[in-house]
Structures are given as structure tokens and as C-alpha cells.
Amino acid sequence: MSSPHPPLVRLEKISKSFGDVHANRDIVLDIHAGRIKAILGENGAGKSTLMAMLAGQLQPDGGRILINGQPVRFTSTRQAIQAGIGMVYQHFKLVEAMTVAENLFLSQEKGFWLSHRRMMERTRQLAARYHMTIDPAAKIDDLSMGERQRVEILKLLRRQSRVLIFDEPTAVLTPPEIEQLFRALREMSQQGKAIVFISHKLDEVMDVADEIAILRKGRIIDQLDVAEVTSKAELARRMVGKEVLLEVDRRPCKTGNVLLEAENLSGEGLEGVSLQLCRGEILGIVGVAGNGQKSLAEIICGLQPPASGRVRILGSDWKRFYATRTDKKTLSYIPEDRQGLATCLAMNLVENFLLTTRLTFSRGVWLQRQQARSRLQGLTGDFDIQPPNVDATAGQLSGGNLQKLVLAREFFREPRVIVAEQPTQGLDVAATEEVWKLLLAARQNAGILLITGDLAEALALCDRVAVMFGGRIVDTFPTTDSEKVERIGMMMAGLETPGKVAAG
């Protein structure tokens, strides 16, 4: 990495941890004016944390940020914006009932009287300067996602931001809007702005970026110019990472009858997915987050109805399965969102345990809290939940222990189908190994759908994997098929479709 000019922003050995989890470790990064820098990495690699620190949302635990060689400390986004660093978030922060111009000048106008005409005029000028088209008088409500994003960008330009950070900006855009965004990015960079572009989509990065920094597990593992990139496949491999950190003993298990079946299933962001899950196997759903896994899990787990297609769970049609009320020997969902979905943080551990086991611990209308309590006390020992105080609230547990609580609860139900979503995300090595062992042991009686973005995890645990991209399953194959396993990274990046397998 070389550049003739001194960097506009320099990150020096930036680190950030949340509890035991190191989100960022010793990050060194230079951001130059007039260049577009892509931060490429898997979900959970630490991209958003890093940018949140640059944008003043989070404060680093260690290291420093320098702007033009001067160390700065931001304790709020306001300070970062004043220093010329602004971010376009995935969720836009606009007042939807107000016009484009009003949003742009919100909190920026001095004095009591507003001149709408002047606001409109200045908005028009600003947009024209960067060759963006927008109607200053339009209400945000009436705008498309692409137009809203343009308003966000104009907000930053209006505040004279010199560094513009984009957090996965293409996630909400249609292909033509993506083209427009890229044109705007190039225009801004030509006019001397520094652009930081967070993404996990290889094509886009290759398309628009000048430089790439690859982030994996909180560290920057590579920085290079786009011109130096020889093959996308190599980039994909670096991003996903494939070295197996842990070894678990995975003896093949006799597979039995079909427990879960999806046929031509479609939903939000999901198109025509078919799969079969048998007793005794772990089927991995691998792919970069945001390629339909969420919808697949939610439909199978009853949180949203299928738009079309069929799902059969334990021999019952979806609708019938979810009309039956029982919590033993059925389907267990171990969601990625432990705090918001799988638990109530304000309730104690017993009450959280009862969430999905309350029917087991009911006699008529009476809830047997005491029995649940003593049952859970046993489980806190088995699962090593710290602190082992069942009267503590779930909010007092660390992320790893909260996940253990969810696992203890769900395995207690002796499920026949398990849908586990990123079950080891944020866990340390020892806890990860525990979870892996539990999942392997559970497939004696169950079929497990393991949705993960961690390829190492998928390869360590799964009997078969299905690779998802763009809402579809690209290919399904046993993990013993080494030839195909080699190409998982490319499939995940959408570089390979079943039709052009020969491209290798």
C-alpha cells in the first residue's frame, strides 16, 4: 500500500472489545482524500464496529485516530461530523414527513425565520455539483430507497464532510440505483472526498473501489490496490477464510426418515428454495448474510408464513404444524438474535427458561415454576452457565452465557428438528467447541439445519451443505465432495452458478 500523499485519516492500532469478544484488534488503516476504500469482510468480521468508532458512535479501547496527523477523540457522532467524518447508515435517519430540503437543513439553519426558497435553491446547487438528481421539494415518504440514500449523502456533503462512510450501501438498492450510487461515489472522490465503502460483495468492491482492506475476525489481514487483485476467487477465499481452528470428532451418523422438507419455497428475499433434512444429519446453509437465510429460518420456524411453496415439518404441513401446541420433541429454533428474539432480558432465568417450555411445566392453567426452577438449576451446572444464579435477570448474563441458556432450554425440549442460526457467533473457542459437540450429539435423534456464515464451522459440523446466494440455493453437496467444497467461497460470492460449474 503506497500513496504519494499523507493520509487524511489514519487509524493507529485501534482495538475494541465487547465483554470477552474482540470485535477489532490492532487495526491500522489509512484513508486518503480522493480515493475509494472498500472494507471487505464477512458478517461479524468487525467492519461496522470499526466504522462506528470512526464515526464517533463508539469509542476505541486502544489505539488512536489521527486526522491530518492530529490525534482526535470523538465521544459523539456530532464531534465526528464537525471533524468532517460522516456516515450513511443502512437505516436512513431522515424525517419522513418533511421534504428533501428540510431534511438537509434540519438543525443547520441559524435564526428563527426559514427561507424555504433559499433552502431549495441550495439543495439544488449541492446536488448539481455532484451530478445527482433530486427534487428538493419532494417528501421523503414519496422517495425510493435510492433517492433517500442520496438525501443522506447530500446531508453529509452539506455539512462539508471530507470522509464519507457507507455501511453496505447497496443492500437496499435496485441494480440501476446501484449504478447511480457508484457514479456519485466516483464523482465525489474525484472532487477530493475520501470514500469508505463497507461491503461483503466482491463484484461491487471490484467495480467501484480503488483500494481494498480485508477484515476477518476483527483483524485486517490484507490491504491491496484493486489493480493488484489477480483473481476474485482469491479475494473470496481470503475474505471467508477456511482454516479450521477446531477439530471435533464427527463420526457419520445413520440417517433416518425425512423430518423437514421445503419445496419451491419463496418469501421475502427467498426464491424457490427446496431442501430436505433427515434425522441424523446436519445440513449447513452457508452463505454471506443477507442472501435469504433469514427468511428461510423465519418461515421454517413459524415467524413468517411462506409466500409460496410448501413446508412440511415432522410430517405435518406448515399451517397444521404451527397450529399444534406442544413444546417437547418438536422444532427448536436457536436464533442469531439471542437478546431480542430468544430471551426477555428483563425477566429472570427461570422465566426465560419457561418461554419455550411453559407447556411442559403447565398443569391445566397452573404454571409449575418451582419444578422449572429446579430443572434449570440442574441445567446451569450441565451447561456451565455463569453466574449460576437462576434468579438473576437474563440481561445480567454475558452474550456467551445467554447463548448457553438458550441452548440449555432448547436441548431440554429434546427437539426433533433444530434450526441453529450462527450458534457460535461471539462465543470464545472453548464455548464454540462445546456448542459444536452438543449439536453433533443432538443429531442422534434430530435433524439439524445449521445456518452459518462461518465456513470453518460448516465444514467441521455438516454432513451436507447448501450454498445460498441471492435468495436461492446455488448447490447442495456432501462435505466429503472436496472438489465442490473448494469452490464454496466462489459460490457464496455469487461468482459461480450451477450452470457454469466448469469455470472452476
Binding site: 415467524l303 401446541r325 429454533y333 431480542g340 432480558l345 428483563a346 418461554l355 411453559r358
Partner: protein, 355 residues
């Protein structure tokens, strides 16, 4: 460099100190009330004493406070059921009115029934009318995604006007000399007094309702499901807790309890239906539920306190010519200081230096 005040959420809310915070808030609200009286040129200290003595200073006063505490308690218990699911029912006033209407309809229609049939029937009718009045906003919320706060509030006005229509129109007592009221209920429709006292057996209904409330939330699956649904609606969906059904359940229960209050008010206290029963018990009940943090025992205590405040301020009116609205002002001050106190339980302040 300037000193700045920063606010952070506490990791765990204060437990022990929260009692102190509550006491502090109450003292502060009394001090502010005293200040208001002082500004009016009234003897503040003496006035506070009058309020206290007027509310609890004599047997007669205490009885009066208890009688007024009954409807407040039942309405408050009702809104607390809904609040536990974080359904913001502020329609206790209207549900109370409809309960009174339902009970009155039975009392006026079946005057020949013996008391042991008539009164349970009145209670049942009040449950149904109050409960249905609660069910309307629940169904609208679930079907049309309306906001229950607004709908329950607006239904209050409809209920009160409906009650007015009945007593000015079809149910008006022809011998009332034009006053808007129904004819007096027969003795079979009147919940009788306890012994020689002014108190009636409605107190017992309150105790029973409070105990059932406690048992329901402590020991039944539905109580647990309501709590979980109120804490985290997404987790409730994840756990297949029948949230929509619970919304309807809590609103029916909520409305039915307010309906009971309406029944006891017309039957035991007023002995007829008339507009004067609408004195804002349903709104005071919301204040009470908040003060008591939805705990049935505390709801009992807070109901008595705020009922006492009403009775005491009546005495204050007589002694010092303070306007009746002063009671509402004090009620509002208590709610404000206690809510503000809640902020200190959940957050703490830091003094920091600003760069």
C-alpha cells in the same frame, strides 16, 4: 473546557434505594403543593394538616376514603392487567361507565328478583358491558392497527355521553323533578353495608379481586404469558405465545374490572345511575397503577392514598376556600414527581468535562 452533565443508563436498576426515591418524590410533591398554596396566600402547613385529617383523621373520614378507594382500586387493578402486557388502556373511565350502565339495566329490568340472584346478575352484566367496551379497542388494534391509547380515550367520551343519554332520556325517573337520574334501585339491588358502618361489602370484592389478580400473575400460565408478551413482543412471537389472543384477554379483563367498579358505585354508593358517578376515578386509577408499579398490594395502598387525597381536599375546600381543582393538581404533581423519580432509578448522572 466546560463541565457537562451526562446521563447513562444503569446496568441494573436500583432496588433498595427505589423506596427512598419514591418517598423523596412524595415529599417533593407535597412541598410543591404547599408552595402553590403559599402563593395563593393560604397557610400551607395548616392546609396539609387539614387534608390529612380530612382524609384519615376520623372514623367517618376514613370510611369515606375507603368508599372512594373501592372504585379507584378496581379500575386500577383493571388497567394494571393491560399495562402488564404493555397495552395502554386509559379507558377505565368509559369501561366503568359502561359497567354502571350494565348493572343499572339489570337492576331496573328485574326488580322482583331476590338480592342473591339480582346482585350476581348485575355484577355479570357489568363485567360483560365493561369487558366488551374494553374489547373494542383490542379488536381495532389487532385488525386495523389503531393505537389503543387514542381509541380507549375516545371511547371514554362515547361511554359518558351514552350514560348521559340514558339518564336524560329513556331511563330518567319521571319523579326526579327534571334531574338526570334513574329511579332509586330497590333494596335487593343495593350491596348492603357491613354491620353498623358506612362501608359496604364491595370492600370484600376488592380484596378478592386483588388476591385473584396476584394468583393469576404468579401461578397461571396466562399470567406468565402476559408478562413475557409485555416484556418482549418479539420473544413472545418466537415462543409462540398467542399475543393477539392475550391482547383481547387483558382488555376484556381490564374492562370487566372497571365494570365491577361501576356496578359497586351505582349499587352501593349512589343507589341509582346518575352522571355524578363520573368523577374521574378511571383516570386516577392510571396514576395509581403507575405509582404502585402494577403490584396489587401497592395498588391497594395507593388507591387509599389518592382516595384520601380527594376526601381531604374536599375538607380543604370548606376550610380555606381552595378550588376543587387543587386535588387534581396534587394528583398530577404526585404522578410527575414519582415518574421523574423513576428516571433516577434507571439512570445515573455523571459530571464530565467537555472538550
Amino acid at each position: 473546557m466546560a463541565i457537562s452533565l451526562r446521563i447513562r443508563k444503569r446496568q441494573t436498576p436500583l432496588k433498595l434505594q427505589s423506596g427512598l426515591v419514591l418517598a423523596g418524590a412524595l415529599v417533593l410533591s407535597l412541598a410543591l403543593s404547599a408552595l402553590l398554596l403559599k402563593l395563593q396566600g393560604k397557610p400551607a402547613g395548616q392546609a396539609m394538616l387539614v387534608i390529612f385529617q380530612g382524609a384519615f383523621g376520623s372514623l367517618w373520614a376514613l370510611e369515606d376514603s375507603l368508599i372512594k378507594a373501592v372504585p379507584i382500586f378496581l379500575c386500577s387493578l383493571g388497567v394494571a392487567v393491560a399495562f402488564r402486557l404493555q397495552i395502554w388502556n386509559i379507558g377505565a373511565e368509559g369501561q366503568y361507565a359502561l359497567g354502571a350502565v350494565g348493572a343499572s339495566w339489570v337492576a331496573l329490568s328485574f326488580p322482583s328478583l331476590p338480592w342473591y340472584l339480582l346482585q350476581p346478575l348485575m355484577l355479570a352484566a357489568a363485567s360483560v358491558t365493561g369487558g366488551l367496551w374494553g374489547l373494542i379497542p383490542a379488536v381495532l388494534k389487532l385488525r386495523m392497527r389503531t393505537n389503543e391509547i387514542i381509541v380507549t380515550l375516545m371511547l371514554n367520551y362515547i361511554a359518558i355521553l351514552f350514560l348521559d343519554y340514558l339518564v336524560y332520556g329513556p331511563w330518567k325517573d319521571p319523579r326526579s323533578f327534571g334531574f338526570p337520574m334513574t329511579r332509586q334501585f330497590d333494596t335487593a339491588a343495593v350491596v348492603s353495608k357491613i354491620g353498623e358502618s358506612n362501608l359496604n361489602w364491595g370492600i370484600l370484592v376488592c380484596v378478592a379481586a386483588g388476591v385473584i389478580f396476584w394468583i393469576f400473575f404468579r401461578f397461571t400460565r396466562y399470567g406468565y404469558e402476559i408478562k413475557a408478551g409485555g416484556e418482549n413482543i418479539r420473544a413472545a412471537r418466537y415462543a409462540r405465545i398467542p399475543y393477539d389472543y392475550l391482547v383481547m384477554l387483558v382488555m376484556v379483563l381490564s374492562g370487566a374490572l372497571a365494570g365491577w367498579a361501576g356496578f359497586l358505585e351505582v349499587s352501593a354508593t349512589v343507589n341509582r345511575l346518575e352522571p355524578s358517578i363520573m368523577v374521574g376515578y378511571g383516570y386516577t386509577a392510571i396514576v395509581v397503577a403507575w405509582l404502585a408499579r402494577l403490584n396489587p398490594l401497592f395498588i391497594g395502598v395507593a388507591s387509599l392514598l389518592l382516595a384520601g387525597l380527594r376526601v381531604g381536599v374536599e375538607q380543604l375546600q370548606l376550610d380555606f376556600q381552595v378550588p376543587a381543582a387543587f386535588g387534581q393538581i396534587m394528583e398530577g404533581l404526585i404522578l410527575l414527581t414519582v415518574l421523574a423519580g423513576g428516571f433516577f432509578v434507571n439512570y445515573r448522572f455523571y459530571l464530565g468535562k467537555k472538550d
